[in-house]
Assembly symmetry: C2
Homo-oligomer: 371 residues x 2
């Protein structure tokens, strides 16, 4: 299946090298990783494993940092439904960045975009999801007082004025070329890239000085930063830096999608832990068909969902993940065992996350920017 990667659709077999080439971003080099390690004192497993694999201007960001200019983080979520594990990959990394570099974090909830894009969603629905999804962000442990979440609808007085500055410098032609817009695209979607660009300049507007911004996000969001970077100079702001993650596969295999309309396709943060366990047990396996064949030929961790979830999210130890990889590949570890291992970790995660989520509900207001 041909690869398609846009902010609204990711499908097919993803060739990450090709994405770097076509998007015009850069590989995260060993040199950059060394720099990262020097500044951070350690490397997050998502960097060690190149789950974050591409960037724009991260080297420039460290240059500013070395000169004493602190950077802030910006990422976001399109609130079209419940949060799943795929969504939180960049957020886990962003939390580490916040803890490590003591950064402020700006988090955009694009309830406008999801309403404009999806014929089946009302503005009330996306607006409600925005604040439900916000709980998942806060539940991960972002710092109050340093973490600012906003629904586009509820912060549009501030955002629209910044977005107008971006929009004035962005022609329909450019937006068409970058996002594949067509004549049948609605004019809200045509304008929306300016709304997603706005938070790149928001910290500078709020602090009334130029502030470096780093965006940790999945690589499908990169087209927005291309537009933003094009206009930054003209507006007198720094170009935002970005660091891009790979996609977590759906539970139904390497090229499967996670979708709110297919409950078994993903683990949602609001899933009952027992239900999540069941989903994992049914998930696509890289094991051989029978136990006998598995013992003889081994499993394929590259396509095994349970292994991929451990590798990308739930097993931080490089030593342990290598042991699991080797045991599964050799056939010493069975599909059942690797699924059990993931299920335990996911159950533990969900229980704690859901507790934190309900606590967050009480403190939500402390984290919100509203007009």
């Amino acid at each position: 299946m041909a690869m398609k990667v846009t902010p609204w659709e990711v499908s097919g077999h993803i060739d990450y090298d090709k994405l770097i080439q076509s998007f015009g971003t850069k590989h995260i080099s060993s040199e950059l990783l060394k720099k990262f390690e020097k500044e951070a004192g350690e490397l997050h497993f998502m960097l060690r494993r190149r789950i974050f694999f591409s960037h724009r201007d991260a080297d420039w960001l460290f240059e500013r940092y070395d000169k004493g200019e602190k950077f802030v983080l910006y990422t976001g979520r399109g609130p079209s439904g419940d949060t799943h594990i795929g969504h939180i990959v960049p957020w886990i990394f962003a939390k580490w960045l916040q803890d490590t570099f003591d950064c402020e974090m700006y988090f955009q909830l694009t309830d406008d975009e999801k309403f404009l894009h999806d014929d089946n969603l009302t503005a009330d629905q996306t607006h409600k999801y925005a604040y439900e999804n916000a709980l998942d962000v806060i539940a991960l442990g972002f710092k109050p007082g340093k973490t600012f979440l906003f629904s586009n609808f509820d912060y549009s007085k501030t955002l629209y004025r910044i977005a107008a500055n971006v929009a004035k410098l962005t022609t329909f032609s450019t937006a068409k070329a970058v996002f594949g817009f067509e004549n049948s695209t609605n004019i809200g979607m045509v304008f929306f890239p300016a709304m997603q660009a706005a938070p790149c300049f928001l910290p500078s507007v709020l602090k009334n000085k130029n502030v470096p911004v780093l965006i940790p996000a999945a690589i499908d969001q990169d087209p927005y930063w291309r537009i933003t970077r094009d206009v930054a100079d003209k507006l007198g702001y720094y170009k935002p830096a970005a660091i891009h993650s790979r996609f977590l596969p759906g539970l139904q295999g390497p090229e499967s999608k996670m979708s709110a309309s297919v409950p078994d396709s993903a683990i949602f943060t609001t899933d009952d832990p027992k239900a999540a366990r069941k989903k994992i047990m049914k998930s696509f396996s890289g094991g051989a068909g029978t136990l006998e064949a598995h013992r003889k030929h081994g499993g394929n961790p590259n396509v095994d969902t349970a292994y991929q979830y451990l590798y990308n999210v739930f097993e931080e130890s490089d030593g342990k993940i290598k042991d699991i990889h080797d045991a599964y590949k050799s056939g010493a570890m069975t599909t059942g065992e690797i699924k059990e291992m993931l299920a335990k970790k996911v159950e533990t995660f969900l229980k704690k996350h859901q507790e934190n989520r309900e606590k967050a509900r009480k403190h939500l207001d402390k984290f919100l920017l509203k007009d």
Copy 2:
């Protein structure tokens, strides 16, 4: 010069019948005028003289009115500079409508549009003009408590959400066809029609029930209402009704434009009354070249600026304007006399208006909607 009428450019000789045909609006018929007179008790001179000459659904509006449904008014101003006499023609009429039908009036100041459209204007400038122009509206005597003015930048939390509903139903294709947008148009301008449509539904949103809206405005604004009317049904709102005025010519003659960058082209509400008098004295005249020739051949009121300003704005009495017309046409009244007549009226108007304008400055907040 070929006629061009868009929300951003009016030029050439205006053929109003042709405009009605190409825009798909309706002439104000004698029957409709009778209806108007019956409801209002009298007819404003701008109706009697067909300065307001075209409409959409005004007959429908009176049907609702007869059934006890009050309508509200909506008009606006693109704050790209100081207000001139041309701008206030529809406002004078709107004030009469408010007084006569006891309507609420919603007044949009499109500081976003003027910023997005004009390379030479900053957002700070258009935002400042918005509130300066607002003073001119209030100075005309609109009722406090029934008159609501808003800058798009300052009311965008409310407007953007309504606009998103309009935008979702409006394709780039449609906007392109209606407004002549091109690939080089910036994405802010592409979205803007949704922002200008939003106040058509604002009263219904604020009152949480369907409210009929009448828009008194110059006919160049009609494309916006076409877009709005297309989506109204789908959103469950009444289509806005509209009543359209002709354009007041610039001081330099029938096809001349009023422009803030050419001070002698227009009388601005902030002009010193003596300076306004000088402009009138220099204005394009329909008189014959010499007094002798004028006495013999008479003047042409159709192209005479002073006469046009009296007819369209400053002389409400049909009897008096007929006398002026006839005397000027016959040559009995000279160019100097007709200019003097206008100058006196304009001086009186400006003195009072400027006093009211400064009073309005103190009470501005009472008239504003802000998020």
